[in-house]
Amino acid sequence: MAVGTVLLVDDSRVSRLMTRSVIARHHPDWEVLEAASGEEALALSTGLAIDFMLVDVNMPGLDGITTATRLKASHPAARITLLTANIQDAVQDKARAAGIGFIGKPITEEKIARFFSMGGAEC
């Protein structure tokens, strides 16, 4: 794939750092944007072309499912997945219904790399 742009939405700085480091190893030329909340993600992404978005669920303020759904509406071409510790079936069902992928934490190199190698197809 050509140079890509990724948006990481997670209130945990550590999680963003871990995901970013996997991307840096596998796709060193990609641009990685970070948002610490849903609100920040929506503001930051406005008008930007973004290829992949990874969105946490449990965050202060706007929750990740609402955030991801709105991001999908504003960026229909982007590949969007939840990346969350909240592994409940109810969350996975909502993601599926909204056409959003689901990756359960913990973050591992294999899971993140696979998401990108499959072009953002659902994991």
Binding site: M59, T84, I87, P106
Partner: protein, 212 residues
Amino acid sequence: MLGFSELQRDAITEVLNIAIGRAAAALNQMVDDEEVRLSVPCLDFLSRSEATLRLRRETGGAPTVAVKQRFAGPEAGDILLIFPESRSLELVHLMLRNTTPLETMTEMEREALVEVGNVLLNACLGSIANLFRRPIDSSLPVYVEAGGDAILHLGEDAGRTARSEDTVMFVHVEFALAQRDLRGYLACVMDIASAQAFGQHIEDYVRQAIGN
């Protein structure tokens, strides 16, 4: 004192084994597949002050740190991941060793421990929600520092006053990274009404599972 029948107690232990097993699997992935050993979950009805003493004894009286999440619904309570303070950083270092330069790590230790708690506690709660086929709402994880007293001093943030003589259902399990002598505890505290609701859910789950 609330009692569970032997069968109920067995069913509760089994459900908790599944939930804690899921948390252990998550921990195992975080530390590059090092073996995680689990003790059998220990379930007791104790006063809050007795639970505090029990925890202090288990941790050898050493200072502990914890990550705590409050869950709500028919069963409300607190679930905690507890570590002896002196060893908690080792876990953080293990988790971040592939991603973070050592100098950055120090300032992120607390956040990293909260993220460990987030993943493990949600793995536990999530698998129980999935077994019961019912969502469980939970708060964001918070970091708690100090001894067992402060860690199990619960309830005020939900608008209830937790009294030390109140009886609670106290469940805890010890886990250890086999190669490092690194131990921690997963603990769950529920008031009596919540424990009864939890017991009822378990009964329904067992009845469904055996097709009754």
